[in-house]
Amino acid sequence: MRSDFRGIARPLGIGAIALVVEYLLLGTQQFANALTLGAIYALIALGYTMVYGIVELINFAHGDVFMVGSFLAMWIMTTIFGLTGPVTNLLNLVALLAIVMLATMIGMGFLGMFIERVAYRPLRHAPRLAPLITAIGVSFILQNIIASLFGPSPVNFPQIVPPDKFVILGSRIAYLNLFIVIMAVVLMIVLQLFVGRTRLGRAMRSTAQDREAAELMGVDINQTIAITFFIAAALAGAGGMVQGLYAGSIKFDLGFFVGLKAFTAAVLGGIGNTTGAAIGGFVIAFVEVYATVLGYTQWSEVAVFTVLILVLVFRPSGLLGQQLGERA
């Protein structure tokens, strides 16, 4: 994880170019969709990239944490607040969204920490294969717990945001899209400030750089890793909630493909690089929406996978990453 305040011109430039190209190709309506989807992918991709940056583990369970997050948000809305339809009072709506999101993020954060504590920490010095296999196991456990609690078929997510639209550049865009993008951007800025400006953020960066050296300098490695998992899972939880609002229904295996796409986004941006993950999320969403625009909806996953392979062939370090490909 690099501090992204230095050398911010390049990522911003790449991001701006990507957005302009996207806009020109998609038009306003689809661009808004791509932006919304990209915001969700970016939130998840950040988790992959942070965890990879600090413990060099592809957390296969991350996509499923996202899925659990959407179910938790759904449960809070329906069971605790008894919500089923749109909330028309703006103040109520904002308060509800904030409360549900905060609760989901905290809940998921603890889930992430719990997973790390139980499934990954004991294997920190084991052969590389071991934590990868437990990660897959955790992923299946989460999926099947949710499937047995909420059933294997899609579950409706309460649409508490009214389907109102506003007109911009001749296209009618739902307020929900605006909310999702703004929320994602705010979370990302908060994350950057946290990583760049706080003591814990510094501990995270130094641990990512060189764990042993950080430990010698008095950084509590276990705590730092736990916090990283907390933040990653909390972001995924926020993503899960807005995914539910955006898609309208959620399913127990939702995390699989979304996780794969978000991982592709993280690799595309340069794994370990938080800004890169965000940009990667928007690019992947663009690929997916563009495939839909061209009329190949069912091939969009194939397209994203092709992007993953091409990135690994041409630029394994990603758009903004450092050299990663080992020559050995």
Binding site: L310, V313, F314, Q322, R327, A328
Partner: protein, 341 residues
């Protein structure tokens, strides 16, 4: 242990030098770890690389061993350039991906007009790609030459350095911990064995004979470094000093002409250190091997080195015979004003 086990020295373009590093620079981001370092290793000599911690010794070592690409500069081994900054490396993936895609797209267009011909063209693209892939795997030398003709230069990979005749050990021991000592040495003999997957599947007499011979040869190597009778033990169960010696045995098993030893006596007691020093001298004397050592033990360095190169902060601050280096004021300064004993 006989000299016949190790191949005789090949005749090279410049018979005096086995390895020459020119102007090697390696920087990580903004940090220059190695700055314009020259090094020459005459045939049959023992050269040492010393310097304070963080002086860039191991980075330099890794450049020579083909693990890191240098930022600039080059390494020649037996007169052939093995390592340098990659040139036009981006061209390689393009030559793999673009032609099949173009042919495939053309095939797709033809498919609209004539399904049969279109399908045949697409099939041809796939078969062509597979043939190229297999050719690159089976004939790496041919593939390398083809890339060179396209103007693509890539540094030799570690295994190619071994094939050329460079063996190495690691600073923090990297044995195959859960394989036996004997198997570790057998892995080191990988390039000296010829039986392939087909031989193994059919269990041909050639493969079985080679396997038996390799066991006997591997025992010789173990005996050479003083590990006789330890072949059946798992590498990780050996004492520390034995692990270091096993690493040397594994490096020697590839029958190199140049051996790179990264702190071969680290963590050894004086007796073990003396044995290791004697082994190195004996190998140089009996088999004409050349050595490049990174070493902290000044007694070892001053005792066996023909010449010494001193690095500090990534730069070469001195080069010469042990006596010259010992007297060099810059070296004394680098070692905190304390003259090396």
């Amino acid at each position: 242990m006989t000299a016949a086990m190790l191949t005789p020295l090949p005749s090279a373009a410049n018979p005096d030098l086995v390895l020459e590093a020119r102007n090697v620079t390696k920087s990580f981001g903004g940090l220059v770890a190695v700055n314009k370092v020259d090094l020459q290793i005459p045939r049959g000599s023992i050269i040492s690389l010393i310097g304070p911690n963080g002086a860039g010794k191991t980075t330099f070592f890794n450049v020579i061993a083909g693990i890191l690409d240098p930022t600039s500069g080059a390494v020649e081994f037996n007169g052939q350039q093995m390592v340098a900054r990659p040139v036009r490396a981006w061209l390689e993936p393009i030559t793999w991906v673009v032609p099949p895609i173009v042919i495939g797209l053309v095939g797709g267009l033809i498919y609209q007009a004539s399904a049969t011909i279109g399908a045949l063209v697409i099939l041809a693209a796939i078969i062509g790609l597979i043939t190229m892939l297999l050719a690159a795997i089976i004939r790496p030398a041919w593939y390398r030459n083809m890339l060179l003709r396209l103007g693509v230069f890539k540094s030799a990979r570690p295994n190619e350095m071994v094939r050329a005749g460079i063996g190495r050990t690691f600073q923090n021991i990297r044995l195959f911990a859960n394989m036996t000592a004997l198997e570790n040495v057998q892995v080191g003999m990988h390039l000296k064995m010829v039986s392939n997957a087909a031989d193994a599947l059919l269990s041909t007499p050639r493969a079985r004979a080679e396997e038996q011979r390799s066991v006997i040869t591997a025992r010789h190597f173990l005996e050479l470094v003083g590990l006789k009778g330890r072949g059946g033990q798992l590498a990780k169960n050996l004492p520390y000093g034995d692990q270091r010696r096993l690493e040397v045995a594994r490096a020697l098993a590839s029958e190199p002409t140049l051996v790179l030893l990264d702190e071969p006596t680290a963590g050894m007691n004086p007796n073990e250190t003396r044995q290791m020093t004697e082994l190195i001298s004996r190998l140089r004397h009996d088999l004409g091997l050349s050595f490049l050592l990174i070493e902290h033990d000044m007694k070892v360095v001053m005792g066996i080195s023909d010449r010494i190169t001193v690095l500090d902060h990534g730069e070469r601050i001195a080069e010469g015979t042990p006596e010259e280096v010992r007297a060099n004021p810059r070296v004394i300064e680098a070692y905190l004003g304390k003259p090396p004993e």
